[in-house]
Amino acid sequence: MSAAHTEAHDHHDHRPSGIMRWLTTTNHKDIGTMYLIFSLTMFFVGGIMALAIRAELFQPGLQVVNPELFNSLTTLHALIMIFGAIMPGFVGFANWLIPMMIGAPDMALPRMNNWSFWILPFAFALLLGSLFTVGGGPASGWTLYAPLSVQGGAGVDMTILSIHMMGISSVLGAINIIVTIMNMRAPGMNLMKMPLFVWTWLITAFLLIAAMPVLAGAVTMLLTDRHFGTAFFDPAGGGDPVLFQHIFWFFGHPEVYILILPAFGIISQIVPTFSRKPLFGYDSMVFATAGIAFLSFIVWAHHMFTVGMPLAGELFFMYATMLIAVPTGVKVFNWVATMWRGSITLETPMLFALAVVFLFTIGGLSGLMLAIVPADFQYHDTYFVVAHFHYVLFSGSIMAMMGATYYWLPKWTGRMYSEGLGKTHFWLTTIFFNVTFFPQHFLGLAGMPRRIPDYSVQFTEFNIISSIGAFGLGLAQLLFVYIIIQAVRGKNEKATAQVWEGADGLEWTVDSPPPYHTFETPPTVK
């Protein structure tokens, strides 16, 4: 990415060169770039684990990995994708874009910004290091359910410590984002004029601040149960493993909205640009986002319908969960209404945005099925749940970030990416994604349990299809890297400041690539 910056006019800024520049930088664009590269790296690390899982599940029986390693791989795959790929990826976009979108010269707390990034490589080195301990990596699934997580070797302690580090990193990042948005907006940029990406991130940051400390508390209790004689979750000492699930999901459900709200923001930027119309229902989008954020705190027990709650509890959590579909539906409606009678063109970012709207909706519908208590007794802990959350997370969050990369890459590098290759990447990703995950709905409905390395033979055909899809999906992502490198190396056509004909917003008023420092004198927003 250095090509993007060497042209910058940094006459009053003496930054060190080489590795020291990246270690010490407080510039939001540099830090954004580091976050994005980190996220992409983790996407591949987690992806390789997923391929190991799919290789094992290609046929029944045990072939590729032993069951202990399989358990560690499912656990680490999820932790790495959630905390290593999706969250840092969104923080990377936030760093690059929020200051440019609100007309600020940088983030409000640049030094802290540097720290929040540099904690991450250490956290993930520790997490991956757990694989090499005597007891192996964490094997309890990413949800770290007690009592399994109270047992286990030093690998579990390393996981707990790394989760603490990731938590600190994202809380610092969230504080930075809120302070920036609340204090650094250009004159005239009042809250209800902010681009939706900024709005969704503001609300996400509040969710992070409310939810991450609860996770920190839960894993701290695990740690003291393991080593310091407390018995929060050990029934033999008067504790209760179900309590862990309550605390975990009190964090866990807001977390899934942390993983999707910034994607909603991205879609709300891309769709109007390529429909050449302003976003339909801006106010309702803001309120829907806030509504989702609020509701996300009162639905957590839909992950634990089968633990034996009182009937009243099951009913409450069922209806509250279904209620979330209302603001979510408002958003989908608004995106579709934005496209209505627009003059639409289908460049790669728009293709990704359309796929996200369509496929995310499928994930929302399977979510509604899971929210029905009696049905969930059948679906819980089957591949149906796996299909559900990959439709919302891969074809929601990840594909939104891919679309965002194509959308803003020309702004960042000053060069267009190759449209032909971008579209190829889009189609390969979309097709292989569906080949991988759609059959998992059927597997789940037929009763195949999740997180098990072996399965009975009647599930074989769908698993073969799913595994083939997974390898195709993985390979297609090499093309993504190639396209990015090609654009960064500056061989392609130059990008204009506005880049896209229909693009609107402050980030499109500065050059492509933008100078190292932008908006040192704030712009005025009418």
Binding site: I175, I209, V214, G217, R226, H227, G229, A231, G308, P310
Partner: protein, 196 residues
Amino acid sequence: MTSSQAMKRSKTRWIVILSGTVVLMFGFGYALVPLYDLFCEITGVGGKPTVAVLQLDSDENPIDYSKEVTVEFTATGNNNIPWTIKPLVKKTKVHLGEVHMMNYLVTNTSSQQMVGQAIPSISPMQGARHMVKLECFCFNAQTLEPGEAREMPVRFYVNKDLPDEINTLTLSYSFFPMNESVSTSDNQSEEQQSSS
């Protein structure tokens, strides 16, 4: 310059508010522990048994001979304490409202005097609030000499509000050490690993 000072003050204020929220939410995670226990106690869902006043068989309060439930007794050993615990009767049939007594044999297999606390659990948990203990070795911590074995009694009845669909109740115990010396972190986790 005043506006940049104002911005600085506003930033500091936000940092303080947000950091305060972080600390508060960390505490909230811990507050969920007593809240959860309270909730389970009120609704009786946690499998934690009830201790209630004596309700003897009398004319106003006769034993209900029309329904018999099976009560099963089990116990779970654990790595935290070198005690064995076993019920002297595996199961028994009781009428609703009828007071019963049975014994557990608890043995300290170590060469140290030890204090242990029994933790009861009842399943299905919908039945937990209907199993009423009048006397139980789990009401107090128990001290056992090295190698000592002792019979420990539990006296209980099943009250008449037991939901119709419940026909079997299982009462289970596990002991937990009270001496500091046996629950030090290191040997606890080592034992767990060696046993798994």
